[in-house]
Structure formats: C-alpha cells, structure tokens
C-alpha cells in the first residue's frame, strides 16, 4: 500500500483524506449468492416478537454490564474512597452521569431538597440564604466542562508503571454539561465588602468538606449547578447543589453546597493544607495550585484491550486543560521520537474534554503509543521524566505526564514509562 506513514504505522490524516485510501479486503462471493434455491428472509429473535414496553427511566443494555465505575474505599469507612470513570469503555466527550467519578470523604448524603439551604455570609453587607425552590427560579447558564480530582493519575508517581485499565489509573476525571446560576449573581445579592478576598465553600455531607477559593475566580466563571447533563444532579455528584469551578481542582467543586463564607483569608482547612498540596524534593510543598494543567491520554487502544487482527485501527483519546482550549494533540508510535497531529473532534471547548483521533496501521510491530497535548497558552504536556525532574516523586497531586502504552508483537498492551 502506498500512503504516508510515519514510524510505527501512524497515518497522516490529511494525506489519508486526500487519497481516500481504502484498505483492501480480499473479496470473495458469499455462498448464499450462488445457491440454487431461494433462501428465506432472515429474522432474528428480537425481530420476531414485540419488544419491551416503555420505561420511566432508561438503563444501559444488559449486555453493557461491564461498563461500570471501579470503586475503592477504606474498609473501616466505606464512604471514604473513590470510584473511577471507565474511560477505556467510553467515547465522545460527555461522561454519562452514572459513570461520573466520585470522591467522597464520608459517603453520599441523602439530602431532602426542601430542607436544604445555601447561605452566604461573612464579609458581606447582606447575609442571605436561598432555598432550592428559590434558586430554581434564577437565571441559569450551562457549560460543558471537565472536573478532575487533584489526585487523579497519582499512580504515575509509583516507581514501577501500574498495569491497570486507563479508567482505574486516570478515571478521576469526567466531563458533563453543568447548568446553574452564576455565582457572581448570588454574591452580588449578598453584597461583597471591599475586603473580601477569599470564599470558603462548605458541603453538607458528614465530613462538612470545606475549601477556600480566591474571590477573583469565584466572581469570574464559577457557578452553582442544579443540573448535570440536563437532569438534576445525582446525589453522588452533589444533589441538590454543587459549586462548579471550571478548570480547577475537583475538590473545589464542592458537592452538596450549603455555605459560602466570605473572608479576607483562606481557612487553611485540612483539604488545602494536609491534603491537595504537593510536596517537592526540597521539603517545601506547593499550596493552592488550583489549575489542572493540560493532559491527554490514549483511551483506545489502552491497557486491557487486546489487538487481535492486523490492519487499520483508529487511535482515540481525550485531552483537556484547566487553562483553556486544547489547540493540538500529537500522537507518537515510537515513544515520542516522531509525532503526528491527531484530528481534534469539534466542538473544541475551553476547560472541557476534547476527543482526538488518528488512524494507525498495525502489522504486528512492537510499538509504544503516546499522546501529547498543547493548550491555548502554549503549555505542552510534559514527559514523566520532565515532570519528576521538576517535582520529585512525592507530590501525589497534579500528575499530568505523557502516558505510554507499549504494544507487543502479540497485540498485548502494557503501561511503560519514558
């Protein structure tokens, strides 16, 4: 076949489109076309009887039972843990609400919305509270954005590359359309005093989780969400109210939001001092890092998939940046020696998942596939070697290095470091 390939079998999609290459399949005439007697029309079982009736709330096919969140919790405190989005099984950019990752510090509260209030107090002239019924009447706005836990991908700091599906490794990130009320609108109603510099947000769960957020961010693009992917937020994602802080650490996107305390200083809560801070080799730790830096991952093929034929594959993956839009994703099939631009599926939105794709020809060669994201600020996703050189191995949070999948001659996929 004559088409432009670079090392490892990646195909330049521009050339591919121009030439409209067709990968030939050896054609042979099926037996039924040559049969002497006319054949009966075929009907499957489900074409031969009425289907099921209507349902009040649709569920995935029973044949898709394997597409689930992988959960892991503290055995002594079952509400303290994580569930990961199965990124390896999903396509497009929207995470189904039931598969959005979870991080709870002490379980999912079952909040009665009629008893829930959002209060705003502190350095304000007019301390106020809002019922959910009232909030539902406010002007709303929607944004499709990712939420990524600051601790996502932390297995990347391990000495040896973890061998686990991509969702169990990087699945503390998900992307939804969130709909709610601009936070600024509610803050304006409370009338911020000039000394207001920080906002302390608190959830109404059993851990009363709280974090501090700079007022500049709070009044720019944050909003309090009532809806996720068109329906009211699921309990595990913050029902009835969640603070959305686009592009910033997941922990700031406080679920079950009940209280906003306006202050001139951060509260220095456990989750912004002892946790969600990144220890450096110097012994000092980075605090209030907030922004989730650009990252990309090939989700297909990835660990756990098995290549069982030679020929054309489409490499597919996700990229996102807390600083804005993804402008470029490059893919390499030789562990970063040569790169080719992947196609970015539109729409490419700021602070949102971007799906990338690139064709790839596999003929049994052992290769290492990886992707590298660039965002609109020019920031380029680092290699693991670069990240570790900068940050050491004990920072735990904010791991965003390039991820490498080694494909053996047998089509087996494993995770390797650069």
């Amino acid at each position: 076949m004559k088409f432009k390939q670079i090392a490892g079998g990646l195909i330049d999609r521009r050339y591919f489109l121009k030439k409209s290459l067709i990968f030939s399949v050896a054609a042979s005439i099926p037996a039924y076309l040559t049969a002497q007697t006319p054949l009966e029309l075929e009907r499957t079982e489900w074409m031969s009887e009425p289907g099921l009736g209507f349902s009040n709330y649709g569920q995935p096919s029973p044949f898709e039972k394997k597409t689930i969140r992988w959960t892991m919790a503290n055995s002594h405190a079952p509400g303290n843990g994580v569930s990961w989005t199965p990124l390896q099984d999903l396509e497009g950019i929207i995470t189904p609400s039931g598969l959005h990752f979870e991080r709870h510090h002490n379980g999912v509260p079952q909040i009665d919305p009629t008893a829930h209030r959002l209060m705003i107090h502190g350095l304000v002239n007019n301390p106020v509270e809002f019922s959910i019924e009232n909030l539902l009447q406010y002007p709303k706005t929607s944004q499709i954005c990712f939420i990524e836990c600051g601790g996502n991908s932390n297995a990347g700091w391990h000495t040896n590359p973890i061998q686990t599906p991509v969702g169990n490794f990087h699945g503390m990130v998900s992307c939804s359309e969130w709909t709610g009320i601009p936070l600024k609108l509610l803050l304006n109603e409370a009338q911020l005093q000039p000394q207001a510099q920080w906002l302390i947000a608190e959830g109404g769960d059993a851990s009363l989780m709280n974090v501090s957020l700079p007022i500049d961010k709070a009044t720019s693009d944050c909003f309090v969400a009532l809806y996720q992917n068109g329906e009211r937020i699921r309990p595990e994602n913050g029902y009835p109210l969640r603070l959305i802080v686009p592009g910033w650490e997941g922990v700031l996107n406080v679920k079950w939001l009940q209280r906003i305390h306006i202050a001139n200083q951060p509260t220095m809560s456990r989750n912004e001092t002892a946790k969600y801070t990144e220890l450096l080799p110097s012994g000092k730790a980075q605090q209030f890092s907030f922004i989730m830096a650009a990252k990309s991952i090939i989700t297909n093929p990835s660990f756990g998939h098995q290549l069982n034929r030679f020929g054309l594959y489409q490499i597919s993956g996700l990229a996102w940046s807390g600083r804005g839009k993804i402008t470029r994703v490059e893919v390499s099939a030789d562990q970063g020696q040569t790169w080719l631009d992947a196609e970015l599926q539109t729409p490419v939105l700021p602070l949102c998942f971007t799906r990338f794709r690139i064709p790839w020809q596999w003929q049994g060669q052992a290769v290492v596939l990886c992707s590298r994201a660039t965002d609109e600020t020019g920031y380029i996703q680092p290699t693991r070697t670069e990240l570790v050189a900068q940050r050491g191995r004990h920072g735990y949070f904010h791991y965003n290095a390039i991820v490498n999948w080694a494909i053996s001659a047998q089509g087996k996929i494993s995770h390797v470091y650069d």
């Binding site: 301390p127 706005t141 059993a206 509260t267 456990r270 220890l279 209030f288």
Partner: protein, 176 residues
C-alpha cells in the same frame, strides 16, 4: 438593556462570557439573622477566629483518643487503617517522606476544625467542644509540639507554632 412592553427585557449589548453574572436577578434571598449564622458557622481561621470558648488537656485527650480514634488511627497516632497522625520516622525530604501533623500540618487550628467537622467518621458531631480541645492537645503532644502538662484553649491554639508552618509555597499568590 432596556425594559420594553410586557416585561420582556432586551439585551442591547452583550459583552463577555455567558455567565459573567451580569444577568438580572429575581433577588429571592432571605436575610440571615446573626443567631442563625452563629449556629451554622463552622469556619475556624488560622488566627483562631471561629474557635469556640473552651480548653483541653493532654491527659483527658488520651482518653478521648482511646475511645473514639484509636480503632482506626492506631496506638499513638499511627499504624492502622486511617491517616498517619504522629510518629513520623522520616523527614519531608526523605524517601519516602512521612507527612504527619508534626511534620506537615502548618496550623494547629486546622486540627481542631477538622476534628470538629469530620471526626469521628462513624458519628461526626458527637464530640463535645471539651473533648475536641482535649484530643487536639493529645495529638499535639504525640507530635512533640506541646508538653504533657500543657493546657490549650481558644486563645493559645492559634499561637502554637507548628514545625512546618513555613513549609508551603502559595502557588496562587505567586502566579497572580
């Protein structure tokens, strides 16, 4: 924008992002009384603002710890299923480091605040203010931050200088 007949509002000019908060508000918030705010305000600041009146001792704190914390946090603050609280064997520059209250936490007020809001996990909110001050004192003692006979209270807690008080680099301040 201007109001027109029938109450419809026309946006004559539209600048900026879609949720800049410039939309009109129905103003449905209800005023909050000082008493209500006081009842619901859990915030404690590193300068001690928000701490309730009270005090605690190391010896009483050991009893509280044994009753409510030990089953998860282990003997003297380490070695069980929950976070390592004390007994660091390594410094923050070692490989691996030990991030305990003594080696890592920058403020003693955070200890009181986190215990009050989140602990114990099976019955949060069950400890009295006295018990929270007591167990805070015990944890500070276990980390060699206060002596065994020291009493802490709502004035003195914020004044305790934690070993890692200067261990943090404010990335937001540095980048803005």
């Amino acid at each position: 924008m201007s109001m027109i007949k029938y109450g419809l509002i026309v946006f004559l000019s539209w600048v900026g992002p879609s949720h800049a908060g410039d939309a009109l508000s129905p103003m449905l918030g209800k005023p909050l009384s000082k008493a209500t705010i006081q009842q619901r305000n859990f915030t404690v600041f590193p300068n001690g603002q928000g701490l309730p009146v009270g005090q605690g001792s190391v010896s009483a704190g050991k009893q509280v710890y044994t009753s409510f914390c030990l089953s998860c946090h282990g003997f003297e603050g380490s070695g069980d299923s929950a976070e390592e609280l004390a007994g660091a064997l390594h410094r923050l520059t070692d490989n691996p480091p030990d991030k305990t209250i003594g080696t890592y936490w920058p403020y003693a007020t955070t200890l009181f605040d986190f215990i009050r809001r989140s602990m114990p996990m099976d019955s949060p909110g069950s400890l009295s203010t006295q018990e929270i001050y007591d167990v805070t004192a015990y944890l500070l003692f276990l980390n060699n931050i206060i002596d065994h006979n020291k009493i802490i209270d709502h004035h003195s807690l914020a004044k305790i200088k934690m070993p890692n008080a200067n261990g943090f680099i404010n990335q937001y301040k540095n980048n803005n």
